[in-house]
């Protein structure tokens, strides 16, 4: 591995890292990946990995969950109650999305 591998992974994982941290991560990752690499030595023969994943359905009924809509809305990073109210016009709730383009 080298620094550009770390940069590539950080880009894929959407993590901003400082130069210093990239170097530290490179060192740590080499150690950890070096350790886990020992699984190479295991002969797995023709065993298949188990993925016990299957669909489980429930009745499509309302009110299965109790949750607070207010708490969710309050926590949108840009939500501000006063502004929400002034623009909501009636009982709909307006969510302001950050202008980033």
């Amino acid at each position: 591995m080298n620094i550009s591998d770390v940069e590539n992974l950080a880009e894929l994982a959407k993590l901003e890292l400082s130069q210093e941290e990239k170097e530290a991560m490179l060192h740590d990752m080499e150690g950890i990946l070096g350790y886990v690499k020992q699984i190479e030595s295991v002969d797995v023969g023709d065993i298949e990995a188990e993925y016990p994943i299957h669909n489980i359905w429930r009745e499509d009924t309302k009110d299965l969950r109790e949750f607070s809509r207010d708490i969710i809305v309050e926590q949108f990073p840009n939500s501000q109650p006063a502004r929400l109210n002034s623009r909501s016009g009636g009982d709909g709730i307006f969510l302001k999305v950050k202008k980033i383009l």
């Binding site: 990752m29 350790y35 797995v44 607070s68």
Partner: protein, 484 residues
């Protein structure tokens, strides 16, 4: 004065029902204890302001003649389990001001029983770590020696119980995060069968490994908490029912298998081995048969774990983006907001594991790492199933060494090695319990610790066989000189 030191959930239940003390009095006793100890030990990230109100309504229910095992019992809850209306940070920066908008299923169940939630407890950031040193809010200290770690990631919940700041607690266990700190601090901690307890409302780390687990002072109390929180849940499709796994019963002569190769591996402290051997002799004297078992590739479990867990963690944490909730950092473009929020909001160990997970899942490496690890996992499952045909339990020490000094382990890999005995149960999905097995003398400990630090023994049983674990656990506890 209520004698908190010798109080158990069972005794408290009897005293509450007999009106020897009220739930309010009991809760107040714990609040006083928290008040005097929390600053030093750093157990609770928040003590709830409605504890006495909760206790008051428990008293009202008791006055009406109601009783349930946990009615009025004060519990500590790990900060990665949602309680509606309460802050939920997962001990991270990225969720520091997040307020839960619903109750986790375990919380719903505990509320129905009338349990009291004292507060939310410290942990490693996003449950990643084995010492709580990764918490964004400071390390939780070991009550036996405050210069040492409590273990983790459920360190706060465990110390709450170990230092009389709660009567019982909930943690979560992905690779040993309940059992390892329980052993470090001298209490009982359990990881149930995968799917036994609903994870709806638990922050996901490694979804094929995560379990919510109880911690308490003894096996009986642990059983009471597990019974209160277990059960299938329509909101968690991985939950199991009583018939998911065939019922197993104990052999006529209780048989305990020990993978001695692993116990005697390099890196396991001599005093831990001695203590474990002594425990096995004691069990033999109680009539248990102890046999040597060999589980092929059990020595690979740690490597398998540190591929699968980061892979799943990096996937799970991709939902946290600084856009919809949690910490949000500024940036010029959409992706800058994303990257800055995640880069600054996640702790270092979390960022490290996200990178590792991204690496082992990336095209070109997937087959060699994640794919291969899943195959070894399948082999290990078969090996365990085979082993459990011959034995009732598999026993190991819980921890390979005693709690380390805060800041001593700077290399992440050396910390990962603490999980060597606990991770296998998560990989194969079987239940496991850690029980105090005595102490190890350690030089240079402060006088208050009595020169000793706790050790633990771990029992694993077949899928669905928690009851058997409680049975062997109570048997083991009956050996009096364990605590000497």
């Amino acid at each position: 004065m209520i004698d908190l030191k010798n109080l158990t959930i069972k005794k408290a239940r009897q005293a509450l029902d007999a009106k020897e003390f009220s739930a309010v009095e009991l809760a107040q006793a714990y609040l006083d204890e928290i008040n005097s100890k929390n600053k030093e030990l750093n157990v609770y990230l928040e003590v709830f302001d409605d504890v006495l109100e909760q206790a008051k309504s428990a008293d009202e229910r008791i006055a009406k003649g109601e009783s349930s095992p946990l009615l009025g019992i004060p519990l500590a809850i790990k900060d990665n389990i949602l309680i509606c209306g309460k802050t939920f940070s997962s001990a991270s920066i990225i969720l520091q001001n997040y307020v839960a908008s619903y109750d986790a299923t375990v919380i719903v169940k505990l509320k129905k029983q009338g349990a009291i939630f004292l507060g939310r407890t410290n942990m490693d950031d996003s449950a990643m770590g084995g010492s709580t040193e990764n918490s964004a809010y400071g390390v939780t200290k070991n009550p036996h020696d405050t210069s040492r770690v409590a273990g983790g990631s459920s360190g706060g919940s465990i110390v709450a119980v170990a230092s009389d700041m709660a009567l019982g607690a909930l943690g979560s266990d992905t690779g040993g995060s309940v059992r390892e700190p329980a052993a470090f601090c001298g209490i009982v901690g359990m990881k149930p069968t995968y799917g036994r307890v609903s994870r709806y409302g638990l922050m996901a780390l490694g979804s094929s490994l995560d379990c919510i687990g109880p911690a308490a002072k003894n096996v009986e109390d642990t059983e009471i908490i597990l019974n209160a929180i277990s059960g299938s849940d329509i909101l968690d499709s991985t939950t199991i029912t009583d018939t998911t796994y065939p019922k197993v019963s104990m052999k006529k002569e209780i048989t305990i298998g020990v993978p001695w190769d692993l116990v005697n591996a390099k890196g396991v402290d001599e005093k831990v081995k001695e203590n474990f051997k002594y425990s096995m002799e004691k069990l033999q004297s109680l009539g248990c048969k102890v046999v040597d078992i060999s589980i092929k590739n059990i020595d690979m479990a740690l490597a398998v774990y540190y591929i699968i867990m980061p892979a799943e963690a990096s996937t799970n944490l991709s939902r946290i983006d600084g856009m919809r909730y949690g910490y949000s950092a500024d940036g010029k473009t959409f992706w800058d907001v994303y990257k800055n929020s995640r880069g600054k909001g996640f702790g270092k160990e979390v960022r490290r594991r996200i990178l590792i997970g991204t690496y082992v899942l990336s095209a070109g490496y997937y087959d060699a790492y994640y794919g291969k690890a899943q195959k070894i996992r399948a082999m290990l499952k078969q090996e365990f199933a085979k082993a459990f045909e011959a034995v009732d339990f598999i026993a190991t020490p819980t921890i390979p060494f005693v709690a380390w000094k805060i800041g001593e382990k700077t290399d992440p890999l050396s910390m990962y090695l603490a999980d060597i005995f606990t991770i296998t149960a998560n990989i194969v999905g079987v239940p496991a319990i850690s029980i105090p097995s005595g102490f190890s003398e350690v030089e240079g400990l402060p006088a208050q610790a009595g020169k000793k630090l706790p050790l633990g023994i771990q029992f694993m049983a077949s899928h669905g066989a928690e009851e058997m674990l409680f049975e062997i656990g109570k048997k083991f506890e009956s050996i009096k000189d364990n605590q000497e």
